[in-house]
């Protein structure tokens, strides 16, 4: 596999042969199997939220935030589903991970599962592009090896969703057997599905998986693990990022104009050596013809929500 050639094809959104995807996924599994459930990452680092298959916006993200040649990145998961280029987005990140293993940390999101990708677009996208689901299966194998979280300078905990009533310490996360499909309940599920909210204590999540947690739970987790911040993604934020609980938690969202119809802006969070936070916001790639969205490969306009 010629990695540079594959990267160039991916940046252009072009077709990648099935055998290349197979090799890439196999190599990634070998790389990821050696990573801990909670990866250690040094500053400076840029934290990125959901991508959801918006390849052109992912390219903008790299452009606006320095690029992988110069910058260290943590991606908080949800690389696939919803957008039209889930495969290319995910493979681009895998290629970067292979090329620069210390500069890219990939955390698993709740969409990196077989069950969810069958409903929300990635499975269909692969079927459309290859006529069979082999490539989807290869990617799902990689999903099972992705980390569950990351810790920056032992002070900032990164996770896709949030906290779990079954997890008081980072060591508890380290003890999870992560190499599996995301279960419907339990700590691994909660880390990928939970949301912060204005609640007194653990509450049922309207999503049907994970929990809602409030300031009390966040303060307890921060204090108990001697950390300053929980950085997570998972929820659309129209302004790109949102700090909560006196700055103890931040949601970062990196898919601008989500689903090509929400109108939101996106953000990434740069953490410098002094653990200072610096947000970079960016807009979606504009449609090229002013009417339809020329980056949508089906040549059909994305379904508008206008009832």
């Amino acid at each position: 596999m010629n990695l540079d050639h594959t990267l160039e094809l991916l940046r252009q959104g072009k077709h990648i042969p099935e055998e290349t995807v197979y090799s890439l996924c196999l190599e990634l599994q070998e790389l990821l199997i050696n990573e801990a459930n909670v990866s250690y990452v040094d500053t400076p680092v840029t934290i990125c939220g959901d991508i959801h298959g918006q390849l052109h916006d992912l390219l903008t993200l790299f452009e606006k935030s320095g690029g992988v040649e110069k910058t260290r990145y943590i991606f908080l998961g949800d690389f696939v589903d919803r957008g039209f280029y889930s495969l290319e987005s995910f493979l681009l990140l895998l290629c970067y991970k292979l090329r620069y293993p210390d500069r890219i940390t990939l955390i698993r999101g709740n969409h990196e599962t077989r069950q969810i990708t069958k409903v929300y677009g990635f499975y269909d996208e692969v079927l459309r592009k290859y006529g069979n689901c082999n490539v989807w299966r290869y990617c799902c194998e990689v999903f099972d090896y992705l980390s569950l979280g990351a810790i920056i300078n032992n002070k900032i905990f990164c996770v896709h969703g949030g906290l779990s009533p079954d997890v008081d310490t980072l060591d508890a996360i380290r003890g999870i057997d992560r190499k599996q499909e995301v279960p419907h309940e339990g700590p691994m599920c909660d880390l990928l599905w939970s949301d912060p909210d204005d609640v007194e204590t653990w509450s049922l999540s309207p999503r049907g998986a994970g929990f809602l947690f409030g300031k009390n739970e966040v303060d307890k987790f921060l204090h108990g693990n001697d950390i300053e911040l929980i950085a997570r993604a998972h929820q659309l934020v129209m302004e790109g990022y949102k700090e909560m609980f006196d700055g103890g938690l931040v949601t970062v969202w990196s898919a601008p104009n989500y689903c090509y119809r929400c109108g939101n802006i996106a953000a990434v969070l740069e953490i410098d050596d002094q653990l200072q936070r610096n947000y970079t916001i960016f807009e979606a790639v504009q449609p090229q013809d002013g009417v339809g969205n020329a980056i949508i490969p089906t040549k059909k306009p994305q379904m508008d929500y206008f009832l």
Binding site: N110, H111, I116, V119, Y120, P206, R207, G208, Q235, L236, V237, M238, E239, Y258, C259, R261, C262, G263, N264, I265, V291, M303, D304, Y305, F306, L307
Partner: protein, 297 residues
């Protein structure tokens, strides 16, 4: 509410099959939406339908079984709600579906080619309980002449407007509301009700999804309608409709509020079990940009 829905699936299927044979283009538009089956869209459609039904049912219930009621669906399109309501509520003495001439002609032709639905519609038409009427609602004077000719102004009446007022120029929509309010008197037993479902937003500086709605409206094929729709949104339909339907008992909820406050936990669970929905934030953004308004006089 359940009895409204149990017998009608086959009627809707029959109607859609006939739409297909008459207009592949229209059928394709509807069918592609159904096939894509995006959970936020389906839930939005569900909420819109339920919100109208809740308002309508509450009105009928409050009026009581012995009070005659009329329903006037302005801009009814292909809505077949009349079949359900006329079969369940004998106190509905008239159900009037109103739309542009082309829309009315199309609906009439489609119904004409059905079997089961045609029989039902013909029966209600013979009884004088159902009528499909073409009216250009932008021509308010003529519209009022027709409305008052084809309905009684001394009977408790519900007016339904679903995504209609945003397409009518501000001056005409105000005139239409004032005229209807004036013509259908307050003294009727049961009173009168206006139920309106409309988009809102676009006026606040950081209302990004509102801007998206505005942009979509700008591409409405009829330029006059697109322009007025944009004007309506700028003025925020939430306030303009409320102001227009003045001196009434007006209740407005955005559809997110409606989901939270009016849909029971049990019903939420039932709906959640039908289709997995992960995108709660997207749903909230969308539903806070639509309102259901009930104005009683």
């Amino acid at each position: 509410m359940h009895e409204l829905f149990s017998p009608v699936r086959s009627l809707y299927d029959e109607y859609m099959a006939r739409v297909r044979s008459r207009s592949r283009r229209l059928y394709g538009q509807i069918d592609s939406r159904v096939r894509q089956s995006v959970p936020v869209m389906n839930l939005g459609t569900y909420l819109r339908t339920v919100a109208i039904d809740v308002a309508l049912l509450q009105f009928i219930e409050r009026a009581g079984p012995d009070t005659p009621v009329q329903v006037v669906n302005l801009g009814s399109g292909s809505d077949l709600r009349m079949v359900q309501y006329l079969s369940v509520f004998p106190q509905i003495v008239k159900f009037l579906d109103v739309d542009f001439e082309e829309a009315v002609a199309f609906k009439g032709q489609v119904i004409d080619t059905t079997t089961q639905l045609k029989q039902i519609v013909e029966q209600y038409t013979r009884e004088g309980r159902y009528e499909l009427l073409s009216i250009d609602l932008c021509d308010v004077q003529h519209a009022m002449e027709l409305l008052t000719t084809h309905t009684r102004t001394d009977v408790a009446t519900v007016f339904i407007t679903e995504c209609l007022l945003c397409y009518i120029p501000q001056r005409e929509s105000q005139l239409l509301i004032d005229s209807i309010q004036g013509a259908y008197s307050t003294g009727t037993p049961g009173g009168n009700l206006w139920v309106s479902y409309d988009p809102i937003g676009g006026s606040a500086p950081n209302d990004r999804f509102g801007k998206i709605i505005e942009r979509k409206l700008a591409h409405v094929q009829e330029p006059r309608l697109a322009h007025s729709a944009r004007l309506q949104l700028k003025g925020d339909v939430r306030s303009s409709v409320a102001k227009a339907i003045d001196h009434c008992n007006v209740v407005i909820r955005d559809m997110w509020q409606f989901l939270q406050e009016k849909v029971t936990d049990e019903e939420k669970k039932r709906v959640a079990a039908l289709q997995f929905l992960d995108e709660l934030e997207e749903l909230k953004v969308m539903q806070t940009h639509y309102v259901i308004l009930s104005a009683q006089w």
